[in-house]
């Protein structure tokens, strides 16, 4: 009984220790088994609440209502062919409004070729280029265009707008840098948006501004050389700008290209078939070597009076678009009738280079004649076939400016001269050009 006593004495820790430890153990057990309090459970909606939310939710109308007298709702209706004499809203006018620069729209030879092609091929191609949509006329037109422009290869698109809008995203991806002129047309803007690259705008035709941006970029590159080695840089300009009707300074651009190692994409929709001694565009106009430009894109809807567009350049550059140009791979090819018409138009252009000189004379004539119009300011260069007349003094609101210009157009149409307001989407344009 002595050892028993010792054992009890040894074991008798202070009572409060035991009680404390007991309480601690009980607490731990409680914590283990109590429900954990998740914060986001309070946000979970019950089924009933979900039903209520679905009932209550009212989306916006699919489209906002358009008032009846919205200026662009009612189009002017043209009956008959839109050639030099045009019947618009019932009135016969001389056509100063469409882009039919060389007058090939109602050329008999072009029509005959189109008819012959119609007899042979029908109208549509019923397939994209990859799946039996490639006709021999397409191949012929591509080789003729590349020969005409003195490049290695050309690629054909079935719609002018889609040409540059598919070409830019094929080369420039997220992380690349593009320097664009502020006055770039809408198709280029869509191409830029689709490419998700970093876009830097420089002031219109301002080479110092562009050089400043390029210098900034160079400094950035020095900070991070590894990234700079994989970042592609492009300059996108137009030969003859649709929005301002003037020409880009190409020789300076080429100098900048080699100095800062950027590639040039040139959009020649308005200048193809207009500038240059043989109609080859702004490269011929300035005498620049065509190999210096990486990609030239143009649409055939202006001077060539057909539909569609093309890109030309070296095979190294152009061949890539055959697999990655979205408007090329995923869209039906150009109807062969239109391609045949374009080939014949090219033939006519090649046979008679004098027509370009004649066009230039006429443009100068019109430019000089319109110079002194009171109240209206002329925008553009003398060789541009599409000129803009803007109001000298703006009334402050775009709407009333447009109304006034519309009344000018109506007045002209009464006197049998067809003009048109240059259209643009006000909310979508990045740099809104003034009303004209």
């Amino acid at each position: 009984w002595c050892s028993q006593h010792d054992w009890v004495e040894d074991m008798s820790a202070p009572a409060y220790h035991l009680i404390l430890e007991g309480i601690l153990i009980l607490w731990i057990i409680r914590l283990l088994f109590s429900k954990t309090y998740k914060l986001h459970e309070t946000y979970k909606l019950t089924e009933k609440e979900k039903e209520e939310l679905i009932e209550e939710w009212q989306p916006e109308a699919l489209v906002p209502p358009v008032s009846k007298d919205y200026p662009t709702l009612n189009y002017d209706v043209v009956t008959g062919p839109p050639s030099h004499k045009i019947t618009i809203n019932g009135k016969d006018c001389i056509n100063f409004a469409s882009f039919n620069f060389l007058g090939l729209l109602d050329n008999e030879r072009v029509k005959q070729k189109a008819l012959a092609s119609l007899k042979k091929y029908g109208v549509g191609t019923c397939g994209p280029r990859g799946f039996y949509g490639t006709f021999d006329v397409h191949l012929e037109l591509e080789s003729r265009l590349s020969k005409f422009m003195k490049t290695e290869e050309a690629i054909l698109y079935s719609y002018g707008f889609a040409t540059i809008a598919s070409a830019i995203p094929a080369y420039s991806k997220r992380g690349d840098i593009i320097f664009v002129d502020e006055a770039a047309c809408f198709a280029i803007q869509k191409g830029l948006q689709a490419s998700r690259s970093l876009i830097k705008y420089f002031k219109h035709n301002d080479m110092e501004d562009l050089e400043r941006l390029l210098k900034e970029q160079e400094l950035e590159d020095l900070k991070n050389p590894r990234k700079a080695r994989v970042t592609r840089k492009f300059i996108v300009v137009e030969g003859l700008y649709i929005n301002t009707a003037d020409i880009c300074p190409l020789p300076e651009l080429v100098k900048l290209k080699y100095k800062y190692k950027v590639r040039i994409f040139l959009e020649e929709s308005m200048s193809f078939g207009v500038l240059g001694d043989h109609g080859r565009g702004v490269t011929e106009h300035f005498g620049v070597n065509i190999d210096d430009i990486d990609l030239i894109s143009a649409n055939m809807e202006n001077a060539l009076a057909s539909i569609g567009g093309f890109c030309c350049g070296r095979s190294f550059v152009i061949d890539h678009q055959r697999l990655s140009g979205q408007g090329y791979c995923f869209s039906a090819s150009l109807p062969p009738m239109l391609a045949a018409a374009a080939i014949e138009a090219l033939n006519i252009m090649e046979e008679d280079p004098d027509v370009f000189r004649v066009l230039r004379e006429k443009c100068k004539h019109v430019y000089n004649a319109l110079q002194g119009t009171p109240g209206l300011k002329l925008a553009g260069v003398p060789v541009a076939p599409a000129l803009h007349l803007e109001l000298e003094r703006s009334s402050g609101s775009r709407e009333s400016d447009m109304k006034q210009l519309r009344s000018v157009v109506d007045y002209c149409m009464e006197r049998h001269v067809a003009l048109t307001l240059a259209r643009c989407l006000e909310k979508e344009e990045r740099f809104l050009p003034p009303p004209r």
């Binding site: 029908g122 397939g127 190294f316 239109l338």
Partner: protein, 549 residues
């Protein structure tokens, strides 16, 4: 059928719709919500049968193995080219520009250099006749393993065309049929040289738009010069930031591009899977925009009528029911289905007996069934008026070419019967017959086919990359032109050949194609199907009977 049967048969039908048995009264009446289930009318029953049979396991293994071997060889050849042992055939950068940042990354072009180049003689085959039921191919050979082609100058005549989208056979050059088109060429010329809003709106365009609206049974329509551009330029006009787009997994590139350009949030639901779509709709309406939880401005569901790579048809009644419940808007792209399905060629709305006014935006193209080019958008007058003023295409892009417009007018009048003949209806019936015959024969032979029984797009699964190429070459040797597609247009293990049946194909042509398919199928071991199909149509479909079990 269920409604005329006795009570005993009615209850299981209702039970399937999620209503408990105790809630159903004696006469079948109940006032609880029913789940969206199968429709009871004939239309929705027949068109749900879309088997997507899986291939046996060894096929998938061999496919991956094939790709693996080709990739290894690709690396080997790249190495040889870098070392200089093999000649480099691709175009190179200019000497002057060698120190520029390279235009293409090496790995971006790996696939093109090493896989596509070896087999690219199966695509971009040039033809030199009209793309009718038979055509003439230009013969081209390659002396250096497909790096360059040269034309021998000979043509391969009368190759049967199973690749062009010529569903109603309007790709024809019959002088009588094309008389009005030729007149328009003489009168208008070929181009327009201006945009719709400026001076390019010809009276012939307005005539076409009236006709399209009549054809589809909607209030008004607007047409554009290019089908691809119709999608990519009008979706941004309809939705913008703060809106949600729910698009199907297998939507066409133009729809994806349009959705991206609009700036809206895009969520993708599984192909034709209504549960996935409903879940997303519910979550979108209840939770709102991602971080701010503000309600969405609009929800747009974007689906296609017939999907061009699968041949499957959208489950239109279910989508419309969901759209009505959650107040979303529906954009239906009928590029392949307009003119090709439906009793009178009006597309999937007719196939499913759905009111066209239920679809908010109906879009389609004229390239496939009408043999011209261009696209349209149709719907309520407010929608089309808004697009006339705000669509990118109307403002910046050229109008449609007059002869193409005339071709569409002629084709549409023919389908509607307005030109006084029954030619249009005949073609539609012929197409339906051809489709049924072709599909049933292929299934009998033992090929795996995807898609709805009514769709004229018939994909035949080939799986392995080498077989795909061998198939295309063998069929060309037998004078049949087929279209084969592989990665990246399809999932990597599901390479396929896609046949487009046309109303212009005669029974003989189809039989010839089927015989060659049989031969080549045996030669290349392509008959993967493990189901047995009898040539007789099903006498009884077990889903029709509601047995009280």
């Amino acid at each position: 059928m269920a409604t005329t049967a006795a009570d005993g048969n009615l209850k299981p039908y209702l039970r399937k719709n999620g209503v408990k048995r105790e809630h159903i009264g004696k006469n079948g009446y109940h006032n609880h919500k029913e789940k969206n289930g199968q429709g009871t009318d004939v239309a929705s029953r027949c068109h749900k049968h879309e088997p997507f049979e899986q291939a046996p396991m060894y096929v998938a293994v061999l496919t991956y193995l094939g790709f693996g071997i080709v990739t290894l060889f690709g690396y080997l050849r790249d190495f040889l080219r870098a070392v200089g042992l093999e000649k480099c055939n691709i175009a190179q950068e200019r000497e002057k520009q060698k120190d520029f940042v390279p235009l293409y990354q090496d790995f971006e072009n790996f696939y093109t250099r090493n896989l596509y180049m070896r087999v690219r003689d199966n695509w971009n085959r040039p033809i030199c006749s009209l793309p009718g039921p038979v055509f003439d191919l230009m013969e081209r050979v390659s002396d250096d393993y497909n790096w360059t082609f040269r034309f021998t100058g000979k043509t391969i005549h009368n190759v049967i065309n199973m690749g062009s989208y010529n569903y109603l056979g309007f790709a024809e050059n019959n002088a009588d049929f094309l008389k009005t088109v030729a007149d328009k060429v003489r009168q208008y010329g070929v181009g327009v040289c201006s945009t719709r809003q400026e001076i390019g709106n010809l009276s012939i365009h307005e005539e076409l738009e009236q006709l399209v609206a009549n054809f589809l049974g909607v209030e008004s329509a607007m047409t554009y010069g290019m089908g691809f551009a119709t999608n990519s330029m009008n979706i941004p006009a309809l939705v913008g930031r703060g809106c949600l787009i729910l698009s199907d997994e297998l939507n066409h590139t133009s729809l994806i591009l349009g959705a991206r350009l609009s700036g809206a949030t895009i969520r993708v639901f599984k192909h034709n899977n209504m549960q996935s779509l409903e879940k997303m709709l519910k979550e979108a309406v209840c939770s709102g925009q991602p971080r701010t939880h503000r309600p969405w401005k609009k929800i747009l569901i974007v689906v296609e009528g017939i999907y061009s790579m699968e041949g499957s048809v959208v489950l239109l009644p279910e989508v419309i029911a969901l759209k009505k419940k959650y107040k979303a808007y529906l954009y239906l792209d009928e590029a392949h289905s307009i003119g090709a399905v439906g009793q009178t060629g009006r597309g999937v709305t007719e196939l499913f007996n759905v009111n066209p006014a239920d679809v908010d935006v109906m879009m389609g193209t004229f390239t496939k069934s009408f043999g011209a080019s261009g696209g349209y958008i149709a719907g309520k007058k407010e929608l089309v008026d808004y697009l006339r003023t705000h669509s990118h295409s109307a403002v910046y892009a050229t109008a449609m070419s007059p002869p193409a417009t005339e071709q569409i007018i002629r084709a549409m009048k023919c389908i509607m019967g307005k030109d006084g003949s029954t030619e249009g209806l005949r073609r539609i019936r012929q197409l339906a017959e051809n489709t049924k015959y072709f599909r049933s024969r292929l299934k009998e032979m033992g090929f795996i086919i995807y898609g709805n029984n009514d769709s004229p797009v018939v994909p035949v699964l080939l799986y392995m990359p080498a077989k795909v190429v061998a198939f295309a070459r063998e069929m060309l040797a037998r004078k049949i032109g087929v279209v084969v597609v592989g990665f990246p247009a399809t999932p990597i293990t599901e390479a396929r050949a896609r046949f487009c049946v046309s109303a212009a194909h005669t029974r003989d042509m189809l039989n010839q194609v089927l015989d060659c398919m049989n031969e080549v199928g045996d030669l290349l071991c392509l008959k993967f199907s493990r189901r047995k199909y009898s040539p007789q149509p099903d006498l009884c479909d077990e889903t029709d009977f509601e047995l009280d079990s």
